[in-house]
């Protein structure tokens, strides 16, 4: 913890070496989390960039109540959800434009293939990501953080500011919901 205090102090004074280490240590963690939520390789990179800019801008607000990684996870999640909302509203505008014949831009939602998935599981995981998108936000975040980022219930609880029990509940409900969605898909 004292190492973290020292490291954060260096970040607060704008030490370039500390920022190098911050990017080096957290770039893949942020990218993987963002990618698990937004399911888009290029956009995930842009959002990761925004996450580090946000860290740079608001490091003075970091009080040290939680682990630095927990704080960074929260920023990554917030930025990803913001991006999703923007994308959703853009999609609905395009939909109405298409209806009215103002725009011919196509609304395209392609299957997402996570680069960390083994080749034999590519198709199934793409299907699973599609089903995850249909979950309520809290269930989806808990499931992604555990399954894709490999965190445990306690860590997810700290990030989402919920008890370990409620995270367990969220993941159980997410699994049950996913089973229903996938069952519908395979019976069609």
């Amino acid at each position: 913890m004292s190492d973290q205090i020292h490291f954060v102090a260096l970040l607060k004074i704008g030490d370039s070496g500390a920022y190098d280490k911050l990017i080096e240590d957290y770039q893949h963690m942020v990218y993987n989390t963002v990618l698990g939520i937004v399911n888009h390789l290029h956009d995930a990179e842009d959002i990761t960039q925004n996450v580090f800019i946000q860290i740079f801008k608001s490091i003075h607000d970091f009080k040290g109540d939680s682990k630095l990684s927990t704080w960074i996870y929260r920023i990554a999640i917030t930025k990803s959800l913001e991006w999703e909302r923007k994308k959703k509203s853009k999609r609905s505008i395009n939909y109405f434009k298409n209806l009215m014949g103002i725009s011919t831009e196509t609304i395209e939602i392609s299957a997402f293939h996570h680069p960390g998935v083994e080749l034999q599981n590519k198709e199934l995981s793409a299907l699973l990501f599609k089903a995850i998108k249909k979950l309520p936000e809290n269930q989806r975040l808990a499931f992604v953080l555990i399954k894709v980022e490999g965190l445990n219930y306690q860590e997810v609880g700290e990030i989402m500011q919920k008890s370990t029990k409620s995270i367990e509940g969220l993941v159980l409900r997410a699994k049950a919901q996913l089973k229903l969605i996938l069952n519908d898909y395979f019976t069609e």
Partner: protein, 105 residues
Amino acid sequence: MDTNIEQQVDDTLSSLDMVKRAEISPYFKTRMKGMLTQMQPEPVFLSFKYTIAFATIAIILTVNTILLYQRFNQNPKSEKSVQSISEISEMYHFNSTPVLDYDNQ
């Protein structure tokens, strides 16, 4: 639930069990460092330049104020100079004599 479908659902759910962490492009760090450097506050030597500029402006303004103050205080002297002008005009008979009076002489 059909056993086959159940198996497919389970396989799909476990398809992320062995997932590895996705890694960002190797150029990301360099790009990000460049971006953060641009966002850094202005270097010290640049702000020193501004300090010098402001100090020069302050000096110019102070000198101007002092000069104006001195000029304002010189007013009694200017009265003296007016007096000396009237003495000279008297000495050289530049007194303003009305033209009509001159004609009457």
